[in-house]
Point group: C2
Chain length 460, copies 2
């Protein structure tokens, strides 16, 4: 069935339109933009009083970390440092059963939909059972997360993560017992997971060597070669904190990005997560090799990682995508505005990213929040252009944050003020997965999550 989605304002093909609808084919793909009166044989879906915008891309997520949201801040966690945060993370990682992982992932994916997110890159690094042994199927937990996404209706790229060691010359850490595999088993499991995903709509797989710290160079090169042969995206944490750079220097005599670049790891399918503490030469290497950077400012401000130099990457033409990472907050548009705002705080100027490369600031940030994320995950989408999947969300134009938005200001209103309270409907592949703020499974998903949270608190 061909449908014409007809909102008051439509953001498609990279700009805002009034009086036009989004024509979507029976295959869930965009056919084009058309005024209602020119379309005769389509079902018209009226979205009066709403704006329709491309679905947001969450390029970097660890769903299980939702379990200790706001529970590693201050007194309730007995002090509030990066290390107390990591202890909570290890506790959650040690706690969850396969069913718990499914339940926590479902509630987190549901929250993502409610925030207008239509695709998630789940950087998944829990593989073993609670005592650190592989499950009979070493993809047990990854498959649970995939099923959670399918159940909720969000598109997923499962970035299966390789985590081989605590770090250079470091003993294995008991908190990481569920992460460890060797390189051979990792590649075998990744291939099996790719087979498991084949033919499942909205599900893809990517390679994710955790970091230079956790994956020795020799294995990193194998993973990279494998990903290239299989045409998989490759995601990796890099230079999130200065300590990581120092450890890499000690082991290899180079910092992470220059090491990875020299060994052929970086190309246009590669996404570097965080990438805050890079030298100018390293940013130039990233630009030359066509890799994407995924910035996660709501998490980075929570963890005290530092300010991402988005002005330098914009001038070099490096694509930037966003991720909710630790789930401190799930709000990709807040991430987008922080990309600019943190530089304003640092440089005491406005409009830092405006006009770079001739691009308007709102257009740039909105593209990062949508198309750049889809690209980084190896999935077509993010622009609502012909042939792309019809992944979108609607915003209530009566919502007080964006009331008065018009053709000229729609992108800026979305990037600078849109709050979750405005988001009403979410469609993936042309099918509503949330309508008027309601998801058919919400009550069950919440109640199962509450039970897990309660057990997690009682265990403490």
């Amino acid at each position: 069935m061909v449908r014409l989605y007809l909102p008051d304002l439509l953001f498609a093909e990279g700009r805002a339109h009034a009086g036009a609808g989004l024509l979507v084919g029976h295959d869930g793909r965009v056919m084009g933009i058309a005024p209602a009166e020119t379309v005769s044989d389509a079902e018209i879906v009226r979205l009066a009083g709403k704006a329709l915008l491309p679905g947001l891309a969450n390029t970097h997520s660890h769903t299980f970390q939702r379990l200790f949201r706001a529970r590693a801040e201050g007194r309730i966690s007995g002090g509030d440092t990066f290390w107390t945060w990591r202890e909570q993370m290890y506790r959650a990682a040690g706690f969850v059963s396969p069913e718990d992982i499914y339940d926590v992932a479902r509630v987190t994916f549901l929250e993502m939909l409610a925030a207008g997110i239509t695709v998630v890159g789940e950087f998944h690094y829990l593989h073993n059972d609670p005592v650190g042994q592989p499950y009979a199927d070493p993809n047990t937990l990854a498959l649970a997360v995939m099923r959670a996404a399918e159940s909720v209706g969000i598109r997923i790229c499962l970035l299966r993560t390789a985590y081989l060691r605590a770090g250079y010359r470091r003993e294995p850490h008991p908190g990481q017992r569920r992460f460890y595999e060797d390189g051979t088993n990792y590649l075998r499991s990744l291939e099996a997971l790719q087979h498991a995903a084949a033919g499942r709509p909205g599900v893809t797989v990517g390679a994710a060597p955790h970091s230079i710290r956790a994956v020795p160079l020799s294995v990193l090169k194998e993973i990279s070669a494998f990903a290239r042969a299989k045409e998989l995206p490759l995601h990796m944490h890099i230079s999130e904190q200065p300590a990581e750079n120092e450890a890499c220097l000690a082991e290899y005599g180079q910092t992470p990005v220059s090491l990875a670049a020299e060994h052929g790891i970086l190309d246009s399918r590669t996404t570097l997560v965080h990438a805050i503490h890079l030298t100018d030469a390293e940013f130039r290497q990233v630009a030359a090799l066509g890799s994407t950077i995924c910035s996660c400012p709501t998490t980075e401000r929570n963890l005290g990682d530092g300010i991402f130099p988005a002005d330098r990457t914009a001038r070099l033409g490096i694509p930037v995508a966003f991720g909710t990472d630790s789930q401190a907050q799930i709000d990709i548009l807040e991430d987008a505005r922080q990309n600019e705002y943190h530089l304003r705080l640092q440089q005491r100027e406005r409009g830092i990213l405006d006009g770079i490369g001739g691009e308007d600031i709102a257009a740039r940030l909105f593209d990062s929040a949508t198309a750049a994320g889809y690209r980084a995950l190896g999935i077509a989408g993010g622009k609502l252009a012909a042939g792309e999947p019809a992944d979108f969300f609607t915003a209530d134009l009566d919502d007080l944050a964006i009331l008065g938005a018009d053709l000229d200001s729609l992108a800026a209103q979305a990037v600078f003020v849109l709050s979750r309270s405005a988001i009403r409907d979410v469609a993936v592949a042309g099918r509503f997965v949330m309508e008027d703020g309601r998801h058919p499974l919400a009550a069950e998903i919440r109640s199962r999550y509450r039970a897990v949270q309660k057990r997690f608190q009682e265990e403490e």
Copy 2:
């Protein structure tokens, strides 16, 4: 009629309670906290599945600036600097009729309620007609804003602002023609406004010399003496940007805070707005004199003002309140978390404010978002303790951002993740002004605002 408001979780008297209700007298004041079974002769208002928390205080607001929200960012305003922002501000200031001011204030106050705010300090500096002449009643515009607050049901302290000049040795600026008065007329109007507010529930008045730049020292001293005699709060912008300090040094040979302190302007009824660029000695003066600082981080990050040193003020015991200022976003809890998060970005550590003075970080930030703001406006409230007005909001515990919140984590969930989508009911003086997200006048308020916005865009 005595009422017992009975939520699942109650945050009152500075901490969270389960299984207890808030007992509110017929005068709209809190009588105490009580379990349902101990109360016999009260109407029980069940708030099942909700948390009840003290209403948030918005200590610094310029409502008319809502008109150009997200319209001074990038291409649509022809470039994006502090000066393009100021041009938009002057255009809005020149544009609004008394009726427009009323309509814009109403929609902005409505948005504040929807964000859990129960009291606003409106720092109001538009006084003259569009050509710069006083209205027959020089309080015409201030009274329009007061009526807007009464119509919507939010508590207001109208901080009538004195704006005498563009700055030291500066010619009057045409964009400021609606701001200017002389000191004598200002004091006369302030007194008249105080009389006009007398006996109106939820309406009070304060003195607000705009800044050291806009009010010469001699007049500042008169205003301060007047405020002291009348027991009014006194609010003033101070040291928002380094340029302001330099101008003050040039005129008086001192920076603003030390000048104000030396001349007896600062006391416990004084609130200094922004106060970012102070010396250590100045912060010690503020602490010694018992003044409050109002920080507005969502605006300060938008304007590129710099990072407020909340760790220094916390160590000195200076009370900090929050304001939405330019209305870039209306989210006092986001302001609260930025108070901490911007320091984490700068210092690359977590838990910067945690434990200072023995106080938990969430408790500190929540107190700033509530009680400190009420105090700064000279209004009892913010703790939901006996004798205080029953100003509160409820949050839906099914909301996905805070799902799983419990007794231990309620304050941290509120401060670090609560989003507007969770806020359901708002009460001022024990009376619901918003119920289940609905306000009785919302449709009319929106439609009138849209008409003003449309004229404002067409004029451009």
